[in-house]
Amino acid sequence: MAKATFEVPELSQYLDVPPVTPQTMAHSKPFVAKPEFQAPLGFPGELMDDWQEKALDKMGELLGKYRSLRVYLDSCVKCGSCTDKCHYYLGTKDPKNMPVGRQDLMRKVYRRYFTLAGKLFPKLVGAEDFTKDVLDDWYSYFHQCSQCRRCSVFCPYGIDTAEISMAAREIMDSIGVGQKYCNEIISKVYTIGNNLGLPGPALKDTLEGLEEDVYDDTGVAVRYPLDEVGADILLVTPSADFFAEPHVDGLIGYGKVFHEAGVTWTLSSHASEAANFGMFIGSYDNMRRVAQRIREAAIELKVKRIVFGECGHAWRVAYSFLNTLVGPWDFLDPRYPVPQHICEFTYNLIQEGKLTFDKGENDDKVLTYHDSCNVARASRMGDTPGGQFEIPRAIIRATCNHFFDMDEDTIRDRTFCCGGGGGLLTDDLMELRVKGAKPRVEALNNVMLEKGVTHMAAICAICKSQFTKVLPYYGMEMDQIVSLHQLVSNAIVLTPALDDEDDEEEAEEAA
């Protein structure tokens, strides 16, 4: 597999910054959303006749609604600090993939129509008319940004290209130029309830299958409940967890952790998706509508707590925005943060000494950990800044004997994106995804050569899907990427329940 129609970058030992090579990725653009997927999101079906006027109106509206956009468009001094930070620039050499290069696609239009200098002296300040060519560039390059925020870490003013990409996508959506992958998925969430379009009965079937598998493996009856009213915890997790490896191994792990914690929990067929692609297209309205389902499910199922499964941007939306979008959550148990991450949940149990692990179960692996960008740079876990870095690592150390971090410049808040985030995890952008993964794969390759690392754990469904697909392009195996709770699942020692009596002996032996 993985026959490429483009040149796969060669890995090197040190991060080398390529020379600026304009237009190498001008051809890369995702499929355009058809009218039937635009309408449910409230966007026009196709490019309007008076698109320029409408787009500028929208831009004016967003400038008045988002302080980030206005301040970021004004403040850039072109210092260059961000120029070598984007994984897409490093992998493609295209200067419009330098964060400042990407921002300038919008900044030049902003300057032309919204600033005095750009109105009077456009050439001097790099202002340009909003022509169809500029719009085409927007469509190409604002869909070559995974909104990972690595640039914002290194910018002296914290300018976050993700904010500008989101605004650009919202402007394009508002004139009828939507991206198929994102908008089709949001439509699916509205009609069926999740990104993959799995209906309730399919979920039920999958979960029953998991219960059987886990019982066969361990002799312990671990439950994977759906729509159980009155459960303590509502688990919201990306639909990938119901569907494919390595994701489903993570879901198996969550169930085992809940089992050991002795709590009741449930999934919801109404909120059977943690991901919120409303964020990727910068649409507050759609993000709010998607989030609303979680509130409805929590009320309907009368739960006391909400826990999120492994997903990067879903956790960002959950941690940073859920309270804002669809709060307040005063009907839940105030002793727990709303929402919690499954890693926080597991980590707390480990701290309390409530989980027993047989680390030897993971001895076939030497692990490293991939900090997913939305978790690392846009959210937190636990009570202290940086908990999102320490808690997952603590869980890996508790469940595995062999763990090595990748190079310090490529982890924690300096982590490199997998290359597939921000609504780019689509086959029509495969070249971009493979090239964008280069800096991450390079760091992985180094730690494989130096430390004998065999597997990389991640806590993001997009990262897991992306690596499964792109690692083979670099001569690696797709199953080298694993879910963090897959490691927990392998190592956890389960306590048999009362009705497991028949198999008690077997289970004890296993323990």
Partner: protein, 242 residues
Amino acid sequence: MSFLTTVYAYLYYFAALVLLAGVTFKVVQYARTPAPLKIPTTPAPTTRAGVVLRMTREVVLFESLFRGNKWTWIFGWIFHFGLFLVTLRHLRYFMEPVWLPIELVQPFGVYGGMAMVVGLAGLWARRFFVDRVRYISSPSDHLILALLIVIGCTGLLMKFVFHTDVVAVKSFFIGLYSFDPQPLPGDPLLLLHLFLVAALMIIFPYSKLLHAPGLFFSPSRNQVDNPREQRHIAPWAKRLEQ
């Protein structure tokens, strides 16, 4: 009053007005624009005091730039710190009597002037020698650097080579307060220096120099990381709930 003195008096009234009104307008605009979502770049402080500390490190030490690019940081920091000392030194032209701290800073202000020019030269060189920075530079980026360097050099020349009558310069500026400007010396170097400073003041609110107030309004830097504890909702978003 000579023609030159009149022209420069009006020029400085105009420049001060543009700078003050323009920056005030932008600051008010930034402050009034809602930040509807919590978007601090994490790991971010969880308390207001932590945010003040983070911003202080950004303003004084350029922490993020330090992590981003050492060369730009060195030149950028040298320039800004030099400019800071120079500004302090120049305050003596605008006050009577001169405060003690301003008197004490005088000799350092001269080194500040040199540092400023060195820093600017380094930053400008990067615009030619680093292909990525060359790619993103527009004519205005070069012009602002040129403007600042010429201001720095004319200042240093007046200090070390062609001295000007600083007592007269001071009485000119003090006179501006009471709309009674005193004669300005006719040195070409001084006139050029003052003209360019006025130009800098005038372009300030219309250029990338807005990064100075902008930094304080950057949500990725100035927000407290507490979205689970406190609901953070903008007025326009609140309206969606009804």
